[in-house]
């Protein structure tokens, strides 16, 4: 091997990066399956995925996908997405920077006595809302960055965590311009 002149993909050697991609697609049947199939078929990672129609009149949806990989794989993912027929645009929010990412968490906690009081106190500290309550349980709603949600779930674990539902990341760039 001759260093400096080797063009191999060094998977696993290059640093793995996390990227948030915003994929604008035509909202046609099967489009989500197509995008997901690309990731599974080519062995790419999906850390988080959200999809919803965002422009009803134009039949457009925005798929926000958080993926991990070495820089070259990230580039390949973008190129593969961009060449799909129903894809309008792929925006790498991690590269464009200044993106805001939010996720919604619903979490059910069951307990009594001190645990119940502590859960409510922590929820207050995290600015979670109580959206359902019984004498022995709460359902909290919390919005924020992924790491904040992770932290809240971690704290609820010893306090009687029952189950979790979260939406995955939605993201948008700051400032007045569309992406």
């Amino acid at each position: 091997m001759q260093p400096g002149s080797v063009y191999a993909i060094k998977e696993g050697k290059d640093k793995t990066e996390q990227h948030t991609l915003s994929v604008l697609v035509d909202n046609e049947p099967g489009v989500l399956a197509r995008v997901i199939g690309l990731f599974s078929g080519r062995g790419y990672n999906i850390e988080s995925l959200t999809v919803s129609e965002t422009e009803h009149e134009k039949h457009r949806s925005r798929i926000t996908v958080v993926t991990m990989g070495p820089p070259q794989v990230i580039e390949q993912i973008k190129a593969q997405l961009e060449r799909m027929v129903p894809v309008h645009r792929v925006i790498d929010l991690t590269v464009t920077g200044k993106a805001i990412e939010r996720e919604l968490l619903l979490i059910k906690v069951r307990g009594a006595g001190d645990d119940r009081v502590e859960a409510l106190r922590l929820a207050d500290a995290f600015r979670a809302r109580v959206i359902d309550a019984t004498t022995e349980s709460f359902v909290f709603e919390l919005t924020g960055r992924t790491d904040k949600l992770d932290q809240f779930i971690l704290l609820m674990q010893p306090l009687g965590l029952v189950e979790v539902s979260r939406t995955g990341v939605a993201a948008i760039t700051r400032g007045p311009e569309a992406t």
């Binding site: 091997m1 027929v85 894809v87």
Partner: protein, 588 residues
């Protein structure tokens, strides 16, 4: 142009509007309305195949030999699933194909109805795009969009799945329009700055090489003409992938032969030692690169490809140019001429000197010195006896395919049809039928192996019915030769299930189908037998009995680099047994 008509009428009308003259298909319950419309017209000729996969490969051969979109029509369920292999094949080799599949009626979808399959689900990963048409008013638009997507950018297969009730329903037909596709608009023109940089790099090259691929063929005859002009203008050596054979004439002195796993010694060594590599429409496939971390270590790489995802996928390009080959080559030639660039003559002279030393190894040499026909000799003789004729060659997959690529010289594009990416045994006969359909008076030959030909032998019946005089030239060694070769390389010569014990009598088999059967076992009789095959009126099955244990060399053993080739004279039993190390073993 809008008109009221049924869905089935729209299908036929759309095909006519797209200039389709030939259609390969097989009827069934879910496409009967379309077949009824086909019955009532005479603009499109339908070729009835014997298995749906045959329709797909025929459409591929048709497309590859004409540059047009190949069209197949099959029924729902098994009809559609039998198309999965040809669709994947066409996707890997970038062949434009529109496949129309019937589907159960919309209200039955999801009910596990008879001959129902989730066709768009199954074919999603093996098509460029696909559609399930639920409203007859969308059908015209979707069909025209399908042709656009299939042939634009990097060509590929598409599927239009049409439920039976949509075929019966009446709606408004939308003819082909020139409106831009709302999302799919591939970049055709290369970036001028990148082209400028590429031309400057080429002008400074001391040890350059052109490495060309199927993209040149797909770009059309103009691309081949421009490539020839640029190669001659620069005086550089040129090699090509399996898929690109014919874009540059094999009879020319600047031609180094094919590169890659079974490429020539001079092509692979020139790739390894070059300082500037100009990749024109090839994709750095693993059959080409050998060991990636030792691939052409000292070179700057220019990569022209219409598919942005091909650039930097396997090998990093120093200059990536996204665009259609013909457009980019035209711009490069213009930039080259306007800047008054000249190749470095002195450097080229010494580079050619190096190449000539590699050439002198004569890596494709063989000695035909007994009555047992060597497969290399068989292909070489076939080439010599067909020279100057209007020839189209297809192949199956295996040793015979590599020998065909090595020993048959192609001087023109679109003359060579082979399954490169997917490696589909059974491709060759239907592909030859497809080519023959488009070129009625040409000599269409499927170079086959004894194992491969049996994978789609039923298509001989298609050839008989439609009077397509294809010739099947079988290199019969009674083995799955390439499987055996790898067992020798990797598995201690334990030939697990690679010997075909009960081959049919190919001569009788041909006769059973109504074709001509021929056999040749002696080298001294080969020329005469081939001449007789060419002269025969209808389809011929030619059983050419060749040396059973011949192997395909030269070879880059898997896991090795371009300059670590195994040449025929070095390929002793011992060398073969130890050619591949532990890491290489896991590679295909």
């Amino acid at each position: 142009m809008t008109r009221q008509m049924t869905g089935a009428e729209m299908v036929v009308q759309a095909l006519i509007d797209q200039g389709v003259e030939h259609l390969f298909g097989y009827p069934g319950g879910a496409v009967l309305p379309i077949y009824d419309e086909l019955f009532q017209q005479d603009k499109i000729q339908h070729i009835l195949v014997r298995q749906e996969g045959g329709a797909g490969h025929s459409a591929e051969g048709y497309a590859r030999s004409t540059g047009k979109v190949g069209v197949a029509l099959v029924t729902s369920g098994p009809g559609a699933t039998n198309m999965v292999t040809p669709l994947t094949d066409a996707l890997m080799d970038s062949i434009p194909m529109v496949c129309i599949t019937g589907q159960v009626a919309t209200h039955l979808i999801g009910s596990d109805a008879f001959q129902e399959a989730d066709t768009v689900g199954i074919t999603r990963p093996c098509t460029k795009h696909n559609w399930l048409v639920k409203d007859v008013n969308d059908l015209g638009r979707i069909l025209h969009e399908a042709f656009y997507v299939a042939r634009s950018g990097r060509p590929g297969p598409v599927v239009v799945d049409i439920p039976k009730d949509v075929q019966f329903a009446t709606g408004t037909y939308e003819g082909p329009t020139r409106v831009e596709h709302k999302t799919y608009r591939p970049q055709v023109e290369g970036d001028p700055a990148a082209i400028q940089a590429a031309v400057e790099l080429i002008a400074k090259a001391k040890k350059p090489i052109f490495y060309t691929g199927g993209g040149v063929i797909n770009s059309g005859p103009e691309a081949s003409a421009l490539l020839r002009e640029l190669v001659r203008e620069t005086g550089f050596p040129i090699t090509s992938t399996l898929m690109g054979l014919g874009a540059y004439p094999a009879s020319d002195k600047q031609w180094l032969g094919m590169l890659g796993m079974h490429g020539t010694y001079e092509a692979n060594n020139a790739m390894h030692d070059c300082d500037v590599m100009i990749n024109v429409g090839a994709r750095f496939d693993d059959r080409i690169t050998g060991r990636l971390d030792a691939f052409s270590p000292g070179s700057k790489k220019i990569h022209i490809d219409i598919d942005p995802s091909s650039i930097n996928k396997n090998v990093r390009a120093d200059i990536g140019i996204v665009g259609d080959v013909a457009h980019v080559l035209k711009a490069m030639l213009a930039a080259w001429k306007s800047a008054g660039h000249k190749a470095d003559k002195a450097a080229l002279k010494s580079w050619w000197g190096e190449i000539d030393r590699w050439r002198a190894r004569n890596s494709l040499g063989f000695r035909q010195n007994s009555e047992t026909i060597l497969p290399q000799h068989a292909i070489r003789t076939l080439y010599e006896r067909t020279r100057g004729k209007d020839v189209y060659i297809s192949t199956e997959v295996g040793q015979h395919q590599m020998w065909a690529a090595q020993y048959f010289g192609f001087d023109e594009p679109n003359r060579w049809m082979t399954s490169g990416g997917l490696g589909t045994m059974g491709y060759g006969l239907p592909a030859a039928i497809g080519a023959q359909t488009a070129h009625r008076d040409a000599l269409c030959i499927d170079i086959a192996g004894d194992a491969s030909i049996l994978m789609n032998i039923q298509e001989l019946s298609t050839a008989i019915q439609h009077e397509l005089p294809v010739k099947v030239f079988i290199l019969n060694n009674q083995y799955m030769g390439m499987v055996r070769q790898w067992q020798q390389l990797l598995h201690g010569n334990r030939l697990s299930h690679s010997y075909t014990d009960s081959l049919p009598d190919f001569v009788k088999l041909a006769e059973a189908y109504g074709a001509t059967g021929m056999r040749c076992e002696k080298a001294s009789e080969l020329e005469g037998a081939i001449d007789a095959m060419i002269a025969a009126k209808g389809p011929v099955l030619f059983d050419c009995r060749v040396a059973n244990l011949a192997n395909c060399f030269p070879m880059i053993p898997s896991g090795k680099a371009h300059n670590e080739m195994l040449l025929p004279e070095d390929a002793t039993d011992d060398a073969i047994a130890n050619a591949i190390d532990k890491a290489g073993r896991a590679l295909v």
